[in-house]
Symmetry: C2
Subunit: 175 residues, 2 copies
DNA sequence: CAATTTACTCAACAAACGTTGAGCGAACAA
DNA sequence: TTGTTCGCTCAACGTTTGTTGAGTAAATTG
């Protein structure tokens, strides 16, 4: 009946990570406090430190989940040009939210984007393949930022399929 | 010979604003401290407060300059499809750098983008004009973020003309 | 000239932050 | 059951932050 010790540990660690991801995605690294994460997880701030050591490593752990899945967005794009907005994992949103202000988030973002660019570039022929791939990635970045993070009125309540439909010829022009 | 009092005041106010713009553009709102701005301007931190009251209003004053010029980027784009990257005023960079983490910067960014979207939308025919205009703006946002703020390797040292040349057909597909 | 305004510095405050160490009580191993 | 491990809380530290009020010296005003 009573949960085992390892279970409890894994359970609260998960609660911390979920709370951290949500707050990092909503407020970014600097405006998210350990105290707020702890409060959202229903525990003491000190426990967060015991589990993750430092705020920075908590961020890394929170962001790393979903980073591998982020490549799928590009796969889907290249395969069928069907962009799936609004399905980004919260870890990727947290990274994106912080990448302009937090140096380590910027490094992580650069690594992720470079991986994606390389992936796309390999599927494009021609001399400017890498540059074109970068632009494709940045087009998606811009739309995602405006839609998911900036929450622009013009994109709110617009179905992802419609965005994909309008974006498709533009992206095709870049290949 | 000795500068008048009003001159001195305007002079240092200018130095503060320049230092603030540079730091806000480089580090964003939360990582830029009043003390750092004061040090960069060669004065005491208290003097910054006397001039601008609060860090928030300093940011607003620092960002507001160049906001009107930001619309020209879109004008140029629509007129000749010649995107001029790398010529963004530092005030706009500061706003962009902070828009994902600082709520008031986000509000300012939304206002700026909405103005641009409306402007572009008026020049596009069809039912999806506004949505297309939003996507055009976000494409430029993404490229600017990747180039100016994220400093991606793939776009570094790439002349703006080449980016514009590759981007042109993609943007044309959105009109 | 004397009187006053003002650009500016100095020292300090209160709040919030990340982080730490001691201690408590329940789960574990023997 | 006894001793140990460990998840967890509590209280506090030291630093950094934005911000303030008193004080100084120089420019202005009369």
């Amino acid at each position: 009946m009573t949960p085992t010790r390892a279970e409890r540990r894994a359970r609260t660690e998960q609660r911390i990570l979920e709370a951290a991801r949500a707050l990092f995605a909503e407020k970014g690294f600097e405006r998210t406090t350990i105290r707020a994460v702890a409060a959202a997880a229903g525990i003491d701030p000190a426990l967060v430190m015991q589990h993750f050591g430092t705020k920075q490593s908590l961020f890394e752990r929170a962001v790393h989940v979903g980073t591998e899945d982020a490549g799928r967005l590009v796969d889907d794009l290249l395969g069928s040009l069907g962009v799936k907005l609004g399905e980004l994992p919260q870890g990727s949103l947290a990274m994106m939210r912080s990448m302009l202000t937090h140096p380590e988030a910027a490094a992580s973002a650069r690594a992720t984007f470079s991986r994606q660019i390389e992936q796309i570039g390999a599927a494009i022929e021609g001399r400017d393949a890498r540059l074109k791939a970068a632009l494709i990635t940045l087009v998606l970045l811009g739309v995602t930022v405006g839609h998911q993070l900036l929450d622009l009125d013009e994109l709110r309540d617009v179905p992802a399929e419609e965005v994909a439909r309008l974006l498709r010829p533009a992206l095709q022009a870049l290949t």
